[in-house]
């Protein structure tokens, strides 16, 4: 319908960026996410006192010395919360990386080769998704020794199905585009076609899928740790902090409020950034 072409200024990634920055919400969310990550990385490194246990200082109220008070073993809760955040984010990012790797490989293979490869892989994903997510995770966590690495592996290995489906669909449409046909025609190697042409085409979808996988991975980790199936003592994540806080909820509700709020904030921001990216992508396709 374009009669007057006023959209010539934006080319490729430039217009993408312009639209993304036009969405102030996403930018704010991204900044908040960045600040949270930095706090979780650096606060536990600061030379504060109070990261050791001291039973004389249990459940102190917030004060100038302990901004968020102390926990059930007398540790400074501010430091404890950011230590927990560190583990939560670590699990989130590591599980997302694993999940993306599997999802992209399965999706690419399924979409590019089609036929029998596609049939087998998609039956597999159907089978995997026929068990409710939470049950699957609980069953998996029973068969392995609970711990940091286990939880990353479990979430990573069980959360790639939606990504694989997305990548498969995107690969199918990328495969139909002419340059792939041309590359095949001039006899380029299959793996090179995938690596050069198709992978490049699906990267935007991967980025968007990664943000939603990140937030669901963090929510899953916290739920499992909350139920006692995830990160084990003395390590703490936001979920396991909430588990501990549950037993002293009446005495010290703040211990439950803080980590849950930070978790919700992180997930919220990741979702907003993901939505922003998705909108920016669809608009760029429209222009």
């Amino acid at each position: 319908m374009s009669v007057v072409d006023e959209s010539q200024s934006g080319q490729g990634s430039r217009s993408f960026r312009r639209i993304f920055y036009a969405q102030r919400g996403s930018v704010i969310a991204l900044s908040v996410l960045g600040v949270l990550v930095l706090l979780c990385i650096f606060v536990p490194l600061l030379p504060f006192e109070g990261s050791s246990t001291n039973l004389g200082l249990r459940w102190l109220a917030p004060s100038g010395q302990h901004w968020l008070g102390t926990d059930e073993l007398g540790r400074d809760y501010l430091i404890r919360v950011f230590e927990g955040g560190r583990i939560s984010l670590l699990v989130g990012f590591a599980a997302t990386a694993l999940s993306m790797t599997i999802g992209v490989i399965v999706g690419l293979a399924s979409g590019y080769f089609g036929g029998r490869v596609d049939g087998v892989l998609m039956r597999g994903t159907d089978f995997l998704s026929s068990v409710p997510w939470m049950v699957l995770v609980i069953v998996a966590s029973v068969f392995f020794k609970p711990g940091l690495v286990t939880i990353i592996l479990i979430i990573g290995f069980l959360s790639w199905v939606p990504t694989a489906r997305l990548i498969r669909a995107e690969t199918l449409s990328a495969r139909e585009r002419t340059f792939v046909g041309y590359a095949k025609f001039i006899g380029e190697n299959q793996l090179r076609i995938i690596g050069r042409h198709i992978l490049f085409a699906v990267i935007p979808v991967v980025v968007v899928a990664a943000t939603s996988t990140l937030s669901s991975a963090m929510l899953t980790e916290s739920a499992l740790s909350f139920l006692g199936l995830g990160v084990q003592q003395p390590l703490a994540s936001w979920g396991s902090l909430l588990n501990t806080a549950q037993s002293s909820l009446q005495r010290a509700p703040l211990l439950a409020v803080i980590p849950g709020f930070l978790l919700a904030l992180t997930v919220f921001c990741a979702n907003i950034v993901g939505n922003g990216l998705r909108t920016a992508l669809t608009r760029e396709n429209e222009l």
């Binding site: 319908m1 374009s2 009669v3 007057v4 006023e6 959209s7 639209i19 036009a22 608009r283 222009l287």
Partner: protein, 264 residues
């Protein structure tokens, strides 16, 4: 003969997209439809043909703004109450399958329009619906009323759509590429039906098409649009004989044997 049923002058329509850019879709468009005639509107896709019809029907997208110079309908200046009053105009759309609500029967669609435009309900409405279907030459009208849109063939669906348009009791019928989605033989039937209705009902028709053969066969006057601007207007034969605008010439050159081909 030179009585204009609808005369529009200086129509401007622009659309603001989500990134805040404004694109002008129609620029200073003037149209007149002669009473009882068929006006053909041609142009490539994106030239604003459909938007012209949609702005006459007042169903522009929400992000569009329109401005008029003048609108006369049936010899009356209707610029003031154009937005409020319901003029006797109805429209037939491109794809009859998507034009009907898939989950409502044909009868439901027709009686709803009858109730709205003629204030008739129940059995009387049913009778009117049967009449309308008969008028557009649908066999077994009573049975068709009980069918869902997907149960009809493409040609029958478009006939039913025309029947629904007639139930508005229009003086002016707008048709937006009404045969594009149909098979070639069905196309001819639908166009013949439009010609018949013009004859019998004294309908005035504005027919958007990209097929110059259809224009040559059916229309009295024609309008050529490009990029939201009317580039040429006139009697069909005059335009075909000596096109003034280079774009019209281009269109005619791209359609071999238009005059001959259409009459075969």
């Amino acid at each position: 003969m030179s009585n204009n049923l609808l005369r529009i002058q200086g129509l401007n329509v622009s659309i603001t997209n989500r990134s805040g850019q404004t694109v002008q879709i129609l620029r200073d468009v003037s149209v007149s439809a002669q009473d009882g005639g068929i006006l053909g509107i041609v142009g490539e896709s994106g030239s604003g043909k459909t938007m012209l019809l949609r702005s006459i029907m007042r169903i522009l997208p929400e992000n569009a703004t329109q401005g008029w110079g003048a609108i006369d309908f049936d010899g009356r200046d209707v610029r003031e109450d154009f937005a409020r009053s319901r003029l006797p105009i109805s429209m037939v759309f491109q794809d009859p399958l998507t034009s009907f609500n898939p989950l409502r029967r044909i009868g439901g669609h027709l009686t709803e329009v009858i109730k709205r435009f003629q204030g008739v309900r129940g059995k009387a409405a049913h009778e009117l619906a049967v009449q309308a279907l008969t008028q557009v030459e649908i066999p077994e009208p009573a049975r068709v009323l009980g069918q869902f849109p997907h149960e009809l063939s493409g040609g029958m669906r478009q006939r039913a759509m025309i029947a629904m348009a007639l139930l508005v009791q229009p003086k002016l019928l707008l048709a937006d590429e009404p045969t594009t989605a149909l098979d070639a033989t069905i196309q001819a039937q639908i166009l013949a039906l439009l010609a018949k209705l013009r004859q019998e009902e004294g309908l005035t028709v504005m027919l958007v098409t990209h097929d110059l053969g259809v224009v040559a066969a059916l229309c009295d006057r024609m309008l050529v649009m490009k990029d939201g601007v009317v580039v040429e207007e006139g009697d069909v034969e005059a335009v075909f004989a000596s096109p003034q605008h280079p774009y019209t010439r281009q269109l005619l050159d791209a359609t071999p044997n238009v005059m001959g081909g259409a009459h075969e």
